[in-house]
Amino acid sequence: MERPLTRNFRPDGPFDVKEYEKAGGYEALRKVLTGMSPKQVCDEVRASNLRGRGGAGFPTGAKWAFMPPANGEDRPRYLIVDADEMEPGTFKDRLLMEGDPHQLIEGIVIGGFAVQADVAYIFLRWEYKLAEKRLRKAIAEAYDSHYLGRNILGTDFNLELYLHVSAGRYICGEGSALVNSMEGKRAIPVARPPQQTESGLWGRPTLMNNVETMCNVPHIVKNGAAWFQGLSVCEDGGTKIYGVSGKVKRPGAWELPMGTPLREILEQHAGGMRDGVKFRGVLPGGASTEFFGEEHLDVSMCFDSLAQVGSRLGTGSLIVLDDRTCPVGMLHNLETFFARESCGWCTPCREGLPWIANILKDIEEGRGQPGDLEILEAHTRMLWIGRTYCALAPGAMEPLKSALRYFRDDFERHIRDKRCPWR
């Protein structure tokens, strides 16, 4: 089985530019710059069925095609890589940046060429210090080797790449908030329209993609869309880095074919539950996805099949809940996170989430009251898509909504017994 994204990973640190080249690195870029038009690159990516790995799964090729055609005058055009990974339970982008920084850079240059960007940024969260260090080194090497800067590989294509370290907030990962943050403002999302491809950073055409999305690009270009499509075991192309955390035997991350069944990830790769604990449920794609129970373990982990069973692939990061951990406590933890990270722009999210967190705390600490669950349930409807300004709050409702369904008895027992049975 091919593992293009992680095949260069070494325990003693990432490849430098020479090693990366030796392993076939930057060949895709060379191929693009010497023989392909931007449109051909876009078409190849579109044909590959690559879908965005940032959580929403938007077809990447289609997004690239939204960029208005470059006429040489309306410069600059921007490409931003969203490396703000802060979705609880998610650590795939960190591994990719730490494990093979040149792969990301190559993806960026190819993507930059495809959409005729002039400037690219990696928007990196502050806490990823090791990734920062390795990226800085790799970027410097790439400049030295003419993979970045002016006249890349002797062609007339120019691209500057900057590493922008965020001052920290989950909402910065949301595309439009990220742009505000880069502009030195408070990171408040901005509703579409305008699309970022039309008016993003400084009002200029801007393409934004996730780290993992961009890392796939060199392989698609190098090996072709059909090859990429062939990597997966479902409609969507490629491999996916699935992560597992919680009380499993071997928490970690693995690059597997897109569409690998949940059970395989959990039992084969993560080694199943630790001794002494039993599986109770799993958030399949990070903190803002819906819980799955036993009955869903055979679902194939890809965008469409998860949507069909009412959850989302999200970041493909599994968070496992076991029978020794209180689901109410877990929900309280999750909603406290979302409440804290609300940007404060819209009322439902700003005021609703802290209320939810407060009720969950009360229930967990034995102060729950009849009627609390109805209030929580109402919130799962009231903070839904379209009612809040951006997707943060609806994301926060996904685990809550499903938890109220799956773990109803636990919630009710807390309220009835006026205490947490796990404490």
Partner: protein
Amino acid sequence: MIVATIHIDNKPYEVQEGDNLLSACLSLGFDIPYFCWHPALHSVGSCRLCAVKNFRNEEDTRGHIVMSCMTAVCDGMRISVKDPEVLEFRASVIEWLMLHHPHDCPVCDEGGECHLQDMTVMTGHNYRRTRMRKRTFRNQELGPFIYHEMNRCIQCYRCVRFYRKYAGGRDLDVSGIHNHLYYGRFEDGTLESEFSGNLVEICPTGVFTDKTLRKHFTRKWDLQTAPSVCVHCGAGCNTIPGERYGKLRRILNRYNHEVNGYFLCDRGRFGYEFVNSDRRIRRAHLRPGTSDRSAELEPSSKEAVVASLEGILANGKRPIGIGSPRASLEANFALRSLVGPDRFYTGMPESESALVSLVLETLTCGPAVSVSLREVELCDAVLVLGEDVPNTSPRLALSLRQSVRRRSLKIADKHCIPLWNDRAVRKVSQEAKSPLFLATVAATRLDDISAATFNGTPDEIARLGYAVAHELDPAAPPVEGSTSEEHVLAACIAGALKAAERPLVVSGTGCGSEAVIIAAAQVAAALHRVGKTAGLSLCVPECNTLGVGLIGGGHLEAAFKEVTSGAADTVVILENDLFRRADAKLVAEFFKAATHVIAIDHLFNQTASHADLLLPAATFAEADGTFINAEGRAQRSYRVFPATDEIRESWRWLYELMQAAGKTDLPLWTTPDDVCRSIAESIDALKPLGQVAPPADFRVAGLKIPRQPHRYSGRTAMTAQVSVHEPAPARDADSALAFSMEGFHGHPPNALLDRYWAPGWNSVQALNKFQSEVGGPLRGGDPGIRVLEPAPDREATYPESVPEAFSPRAGERLIVPLYHVFGSEELSAVSPGIAERSPGPYLGLSPDDAESIGVDEGRNVRLTVADVVLVLPVRLIPSLPQGVTGLSVGLGDLPYVQVPAWGVVTRAKAGD
């Protein structure tokens, strides 16, 4: 306009395609609750209260919730404004906002006119379910105008959006994140923007309230109100003053689509307290023993004063009358009728008279047409010549701030972004600005949005204007000897004006230069000649400068001469403190030469103290009156409450004097309408005055328009400490308004609209119900009539000569006037809040000049102009051109100095 048919709860309505759905629904009369949206600030979609349900088509029964403020109307759209899910969601939004709201309505200044209260009632949320503790905030001390109570905040972002984005203020912003947002300054301190008072109306709850009102608080429903016009500058903003117990309590904005729209400046909003001042003249006064004027004025009975006047007017030589640009048309005209047109003086000094005549001539001869403040906002290239607009006509400055957004709106339109989608517009346009060029003596508070600024002497400013005119039309006289930079600038300005769809030239009397006004007219004329319709906006200093200018009469110096030469010995001075308009020595000589000085005014001032006979004049709050603003719009202002003591309208005093003087051919004046009719008959330009407002006998269904709301409380008890019998309400024979709560409570003609209220809408937002479409003109047309229209197709002519280039004089400096929004205007400066914001008198020097004189900021210098010597502290003004010195105007007890003029500045001597 493309008409779209939409179905609201299955009934078809016609609306404008692309319009904002919330605004369209409100315009159709639906009650959709909202907070963050405002007709002038548009949509940002943050509060989420304005939810409606959108259905894909007729078959779609589930629909999905959308925010109406973020949705564009499109043909065939099907929505519900009362779907159960929608109602549930809206109630939830209020519930969330109420989680931390202190519920302190009984002690909150906003109570009873609170948009949050209205919306809470409207959505039906009423039961508190949370057990959370409420979060609390620290309040800030924000200066004399605004009181801060952050706990009431519902985080709608309106305040900062208005303050920063709309009004260009900087020192208020939001900090914090998630449910801990704080709207305030970085630290305690006075809000700097001169538009801060609008926060009172912008804030949908009681976070920002009127601190002046707080000092004599009255609920909205207990205020007696009337439609009024601001008397503190020439813009003529419409206001709603409120009174109780004979005291003026506050001023609110009165919407006039063409004039001030939703906003006032702080001078206009907080300048009202002079009405309540201890310095008010409340009784007639007489000076006993008239020969040497050594005796003090003494209060006297009205009858005694009139009797003594009878003697004076009947026996003296014919009296002269000195009118006033701050008095109404009625008052000025009454004075003119008393003394006769040839003995009526406008009360303006010669220099100002000349400027005002020039303004009138320019506006009546064309070709450029004066524009309203709303039209200013539509202009996409602006040249300001000479006028420090933020200080002389602040509301106009606010409109200029909107005009530079034209380019942003155009860009947004190109991107198919609806213009009401505020954040998207700002995003795609990157706040691109249309050109605003500022040629002023020194920096102004509009510099931050200007494309280019030019600071120079009035003549240099005029020359720049001429140069622009010449660039536009080579037939205009060329300007010789200008620098290449001036050339480039002129060409650049000309290019921008020419490229614009609606160019605008702004100027005025502010820098005291006829050349500047002529230059502005030239630019407008040249634009006209090259096929552009240019707007013209000329600032004038006072609320009725143009009115008294149209009545016409001699200038102040001529009046002085009339008396000092002995041609007249009696003078009647109307609402005018001559010491603010002429050199103190001249005024003193004048008073000395006059045998009888009769003054009619509101406040004890220097002129009043020189009078032999003093009559208490009603202020705008106690007198009806008609004023003509800088645009040339005649507007009627109505008294809010009946005058007390012996205070009466000036025109009534003067009418009585006419009778006392034994005039035979007296017209019958019983109401202001009668006076206006006489004015219309005798002054051509003021012919339309008869239509300025509904006549006094106007009734709706036989009813008058009550000044008191139907919830006015305590009527039977208000004066119970005096008598337990409820007094009959004061009668008002002068207008269709009544001092009562009885009458017609619907929508009267807009000139008589004295408050906004509609069922369910107790806050200022009730205004929506009075507009033809939300944010548009008032239903039935905005009040006021334009009296100055240029004759059509007048051709522009150019003057022969161009002012000389500025040449500094050895040992002398050009002294130019500098104005202050707070302090330079006479009446508002008496109000404590304004006084607190007003700087003391000073002399402005460029740092280089200060250094060459050898003085620092704050040190005293000695200024000699003509034979006036003043000792003043220095203020360093980096933008002042070298050799030019700025003299603060009208501040404190600074005596009048006629500027611009040449003067000498030296270091103050020890004894100074």
